[in-house]
Symmetry: C2
Subunit: 198 residues, 2 copies
Amino acid sequence: MPRSYHHGNLRSTLVEEGIRLIEEKGVKALTLREIGERACVSRTAAYRHFSDKAALLGAISEAGFTEFADALERARAAAKGSFSSRMDAMGLAYLKFAEEHRAYYEVMFGVGCDLGERPAGGSKAGARAFAILEETIREGQATGEVRAGDPAFLAKVVWALSHGVAMLKLEIEPGSKELGKKFILAAAEVLRTGLQFF
Amino acid sequence: MPRSYHHGNLRSTLVEEGIRLIEEKGVKALTLREIGERACVSRTAAYRHFSDKAALLGAISEAGFTEFADALERARAAAKGSFSSRMDAMGLAYLKFAEEHRAYYEVMFGVGCDLGERPAGGSKAGARAFAILEETIREGQATGEVRAGDPAFLAKVVWALSHGVAMLKLEIEPGSKELGKKFILAAAEVLRTGLQFF
DNA sequence: ACCTGAACACCGTTCAAGT
DNA sequence: ACCTGAACACCGTTCAAGT
């Protein structure tokens, strides 16, 4: 049906078109004017649903964290073995997400913009992703594969290391799939073996 | 002396004023117009010395990497003991730099802009910083504190992990000095103990 | 060779006005 | 309640013109 004067679900449409645009042309090309045009709406219509361009970016970031948390959860569920196999699977899923959804990842982690939305703080889905990681570490502690200690702190270190590998892969060695895999496996091994010595 | 019509060293002045501006108001406030104004020059004068705004950002990034490499070198020279003490010192210096020169760090690693200049690729001082890290790892291998293997690859992993910790500190837990120290020491320990198991 | 000033094609954002 | 259109204050960049 042809859309009426009142769009109905403009908010979600703007987020979807924003994501599509960002994936096609990058963060810098993400302009309220073009998002509006793609949504067949005036370039100022977004201000009825978002206080700001930063707020729209925040919504896009939140959608990204939702997909991200889902990807981590799927990887963890698929690897039904030991702590180490789950860590490997989640690490590879992390890198794969950062590779395949570079634009998402950039918005989520503030690369290319300086919005207020932060990875762990403020994002509901980001907190969910973090909880998945924390739970995995807790399991590793239960089986004795990870030393005792605050799981939240250990999860933060793991996240930081994963982020570093993803960024290095993205910014220093783009395009090299094999090297990326080698990196994440090496980091996973460091985490596995190293965590016991904290 | 009052400056004449021909500035003389406009290029370096623009870089310096750019750095000052970015440290004061952040990456987003870095505009060619205000840089020009601060340098007491027209807003288009920069185009005589830089092809682009991205080129000026590249020069700022290069200056940042020079300071960064110097900081790492000082930390390494000051810690004249074992591999582990050097790793700790360099790790803390890394985090300190990211904290105290947030703006620099953001430009250097593409947070807040999408310029072509990349950490290891393209930056001369960045390559120097990397070489310092690689050399330290080489020494660790010589004394048996680090397992054998391609030092460049190990250095990349270490860099990635350090970057991750710095970013996490910057974006997830800003302001907490103690937590940051705890992080970098934990990561350093992971690296130390984990590197032997690669 | 180096710098300026006006001009152009973009932005985000505001606000009175339309439906 | 939701959307539009004109307007405003910004950008980066180009280019003929000045020194």
